[in-house]
Amino acid sequence: MEIKYISKEGLNEWFSQIVKSGKRVYAPVRERGQVEFKRVQALSEVAEDYIQTTQSIKSSVFPRAEVLFSFEKENGKVAVEDFNPDAVKETVLWKVHPCDAAGFKPLTAIFNWDYKDKLYNTHLEKTTLVTFSCAKADNSCFCTSVNGGPGNTAGSDVQLTMMPEGGAIVEILTPKGEALIQLAVSAFEKDKGEDKSKYLVDVPKVFDVEEIKARLATAFDSPVWKEQSERCLGCGACAFVCPTCACFDIQEDAHGSKGKRIRCWDACGFSLFTLHTSGHNPRAVQSQRWRQRILHKFSYMPDRLSVLGCTGCGRCSRACPVDMNILEHLISIAKK
């Protein structure tokens, strides 16, 4: 890893070179009272002074709806047009938080578990992540309790830590990051030897994830699931804003003799998610679906994929209409 410094002007220069290079640049933008990742052309469009975007960057590698293949039947013959990796554009995600970058690890594990997903891996290969370490947090954030942190570089290609005068400490972490720096080498200066940690927000560690894992191993029949989930509405808001939730559904959009097979988001919190054709539903009530959400992230994924399914971004807690606060629930599980 290499460390450099970039001034405010340098940052502008670098950003405009990235845009000029033809890569698509997505960054947080304030619009309609929300801050969300949008395609941008200039640094001035990028939002400032917010804790977090409502949605994660998940959709850049796992779109809300994506065509797996399309088909057409003519004179008894079927022509199939497969997903074309060459059509996927190079993308830079700018001003991503470390908890979102960390979310790509569990997603990658899921999409390469027993089968290497061509779509997901293509998007990932063509994506460069420029993260900004966090100088601000709120009471929904708990990255430090799930092995992350406000200056965590896991998953980042480049990480910037902003300094009061508008410049930044630049950590170049991967070859992809290096290639991005190469677009405006002269904009970067020598490392000033500043300590990055001084500019990071303090997110206290509030539970021990190993302890949670150990408790969950025997908690399948615990009354805790019913207690915690009574007010849960079973909407998909928590899953849809989550950087690591990857439930999907496969649908067909067919008209006459042609059509498309589409993969779209789904959520294990929906009552129909596990409904069988027979009418039987193995997760018939919301408490079982809530249990699935927690166990999947903190027990099944660590066991099977050696990765946690939660990065402590706190989005689910902020988005939940009935204030199901995952941090509060995890703390109560740790204490049981």
Partner: protein
């Protein structure tokens, strides 16, 4: 608040009800609370920050069980209860409805009829911000309005939180999940989104009680409550109902009467 807690605790202690649904202080905002014991009742709160529509839980079998349940109801919750009752979704015997009046008095309703006369005094009001958007929309041409909604709805990622939070979206199988035939494309995309929202609005026509829970639940800030709200105002005069009062004439789209002025069906 003390009176509410005391009463709820007493109802639970003497077994009059098995559950009291109310509000408690949450981590980010007040939230629904389920009290099973007199002790739980100590957490109850009731103030203007309590905006979740608790009536949404009254149609959930897994939560309600078979015993009597008490609910601390705000005005929108009272309206929802009446509409649910018109739609035969509630058993009056099994629900004890409690409210706190503007004077801070505890009020227990003897039955749904009493709720009806109570809420007749309350006008359905839009918030200043909602009124502003409505006025803006009314000043637009048809095309501009369509453009506005296409843009707003293009953000929708189909989490269905709006549906889940609505007390009147209680169907166990929703049209968006029907797949034989598939009426509505289930994925999130501009056309598929507008299909979903037009359908939601249509299904709420004449039933929406204007609580705004759908809009409050939307994580993406889509003012989705205005679609159903406007529908309610537009249909009111035609179908003979008053916004904010239960619609005894049923769903505007599924009722038919011999004296309907349209004659295409005869």
């Amino acid at each position: 608040m003390d009176k509410l807690r005391e009463r709820a605790a007493a109802l639970l202690a003497d077994g009059t009800v098995a559950l009291v649904i109310g509000y408690e202080e949450g981590t980010n905002k007040p939230r629904p609370l389920f009290c099973h014991t007199a002790e739980d009742a100590g957490k109850l709160i009731y103030d203007s920050r309590c905006i979740n529509n608790l009536a949404v839980y009254l149609t959930k079998k897994e939560l309600m069980g078979t015993e009597k349940v008490a609910i601390t109801a705000t005005i929108p919750v009272l309206r929802s209860i009446l509409q649910l009752s018109v739609e035969n979704q509630l058993n009056e015997e099994k629900i004890l409805v409690i409210t706190v009046t503007e004077q801070g008095e505890l009020k227990e309703f003897a039955g749904f009829a009493e709720i009806e006369s109570y809420i007749a005094d309350f006008q359905l009001k839009l918030s200043g911000k909602e009124q502003e958007i409505i006025e803006k929309l009314e000043g637009m041409t048809r095309e501009e309005r369509f453009e506005f909604w296409m843009k707003e709805l293009s953000h929708c990622f189909k989490c269905y939180a709006c549906r889940a939070a609505c007390p009147l979206c209680y169907c166990t199988k929703c049209i968006v999940e029907e797949n034989r035939p598939q009426w509505i494309n289930p994925w999130a995309a501009p056309l598929a989104n507008i299909e979903w929202h037009i359908n939601r609005a249509m299904h709420m026509a004449g039933r929406c009680i204007g609580c705004g829970a759908c809009g409050d639940a939307c994580p993406l800030g889509i003012p989705i409550q205005l679609l159903t709200r406007k529908m309610m105002e537009d249909l009111g005069p035609e179908f003979g109902f008053v916004p904010g009062q239960p619609s005894k004439n049923g769903n505007a789209l599924s009722t038919w009467k011999a004296d309907d002025k349209e004659n295409f069906i005869r």
